[in-house]
Amino acid sequence: MSFPWAKDYQPQNPLMRFLDEKLPLPRLVYNAVGAGYPVPRNLSYFWNFGVLAGFFLVLQIVTGVVLAMHYAPNTLVAFGSVEHIMRDVNWGWLMRYTHANGASFFFIVIYIHIFRGFFYASYKPPREMIWLLGVVIFLLMMATAFMGYVLPWGQMSFWGAQVITGLFEAIPLVGPGLKTWLLGGFAPDNAALNRFFSLHYLLPFVIAGAVILHIWALHIPGSSNPTGVEVKQESDTVPFHPYYTAKDGFGLGVALIIFFAFVFFMPNMLGHPDNYIEANPLSTPAHIVPEWYFYPFYAILRAFTFDFILPAKLWGVLAMFSAILVWFFLPWLDKSPVRSGHYRPLFRKFFWFGLIPCMAVLFYCGGAPAEEPYVMISQIATAYYFLHFLVILPIVSSIERPDPLPFSITEAVLGSDDNAVLGDKAQATA
């Protein structure tokens, strides 16, 4: 596939030869995640999170299909059917807690995956398409997670649906009509619950499709790596299998230990107590918050409290969506000739001392009540967020003088690169 030295698939027995001729699925797997995919040899554990994200997607689909066998999307019985799952269905509590915490862990993994991309500028050419598809996957995940949170029909489900669909009301002219259309009514009710269930079941398969495109696009240039130096020669790579299958297997084990510690010992820690109260359209909880993984964007939404030409609410909605849409443009905003943050001293400072604290603050403030000082703090963080991606990144990437790069991945790993010295002669030995 990607490199001339990639191993060619050799069917081992007549059955495999038959398959390879008629439907070369084994060849596809071999070239995608097998020995036929050469991967940079220097990947750090931050490169485990793509496979982990894939694992959590499958986990969510499997447990979700199971839950759908017992759940009833009707406002009269939805809350009770979740309790039926928790109390009466064999292992139902395990399925539900795995699904609920699985969503959280899917987001943890995805956030690390995305921020790895930020630091190592994985979005830069030739990997723009991988990045764009990744942002699409993240948007689909947000939609799926939001609709999934509505299904148990607790207080936070109901009021979350009310608030989020209320955002669309801010759109001039069509807004109020749009909200009514989305909900199929004037407030979240049976129509909304049913369509959210339908879409919540559909979207994960759309995500799976987008993931396949994401991986396909990845296999054209091959994986990036911590140096950001492109693969030059065979000694820069190792075959995905067994090297990265073994490493991903270990990483998965560690991730599962942390994950199941949550599922079995603190399954409700990442949730909100109010969602154990059945939805009541007549009584709003004192403090409405979305799921924790939406906190940064919720903080940005609430930071806009000042009417300037447009109403504050519209600014908040625009900013919240722009906060993610801006990621689409990163490949063209970052003009640095170097990818990896390890060789970009100024960029690195802004990443560690600007973006990361800014996200931490937004996470914290998004879950805090809408009162001072949280609103003012999140306003500063929001300002930095937009400045970072839209102003600092383009300027820093243009003026910064990067540190010297290693000649090759091999040199970065081994301290010397015989090929660098030997030139053509090395090609023969490789």
């Binding site: 020995a35 040899r41 499997v62 199971v66 066998m69 017992h70 039926h84 109390r87 009466d88 269905v89 064999n90 292992w91 139902g92 395990l94 399925m95 065979e234 000694s235 190792v238 075959p239 067994p242 090297y243 073994a246 297997g249 091999t410 790993v413 081994l414 015989d418 030995t429 490789a430």
Partner: protein, 188 residues
């Protein structure tokens, strides 16, 4: 230096016992993953078995004090119909007059009822052919050629002891497990 290129090629050193240490640890790790995957199947499969609330409803209690001779009640047992009938003397005689060995599913009336309660016939209202509900329990319904039950789906005729006599059904109507205490019939 071939080794500095760091390719996957590892000298294939085979130990004297024929198994390399590397193989052993890898086989163990893959086996552990396999065991984990198999264990995961347990909840995934058993979640489809009847849940606790369904199992809890697996007994039905009926008051049969008001059931007169020649009368039937249709009740529900495990979400399926069950027919309880106090047989008339004529029906008992008809059932006992049959040569048991000639039956497709040989059973006497006594074998299909509780001792001391031979007149009380309790059967599932589920045709043993393909699961339709036979007629004959309610007043005025077609009781079939043998005066018991008749399944209209494919024409199975059951006699007064609800034994299959004609038609495609392979078995007699099933007698559920039940007990009688005083005037209460406990099915299941």
């Amino acid at each position: 230096m071939a080794t500095t290129t760091g390719n996957a090629e590892v000298a294939d050193v085979t130990g004297e016992d024929g198994v390399r240490r590397r193989d052993f640890i890898e086989i163990a790790a893959v086996s552990a993953a396999g065991v984990g995957a198999l264990a995961t199947l347990v909840p995934l499969v058993t979640q489809m078995a009847p849940s606790a609330d369904v199992l809890a409803e697996s007994t039905t209690e009926l008051d049969i004090s008001a059931l007169d001779v020649g009368q039937s009640i249709k009740a529900v047992f495990r979400k399926q119909p069950v027919f309880v009938r106090r047989l008339t003397p004529a029906e008992i005689t008809a059932a006992n007059d049959v040569d048991v060995d000639s039956l497709r599913d040989p059973q006497t009336l006594a074998e299909r009822t509780l001792p001391g309660h031979e007149e009380l016939l309790v059967v599932m209202g589920v045709c043993t052919h393909l699961g339709c509900v036979p007629l004959g329990a309610a007043e005025g319904e077609n009781k079939g050629e043998f005066g018991g039950y008749f399944c209209p789906c494919h024409g199975s005729h059951y006699d007064t002891a609800a034994r299959i006599r004609k038609g495609p059904a392979p078995k007699n109507l099933q007698v559920p497990e039940y007990s009688i205490s005083d005037t209460t019939l406990v099915i299941g």
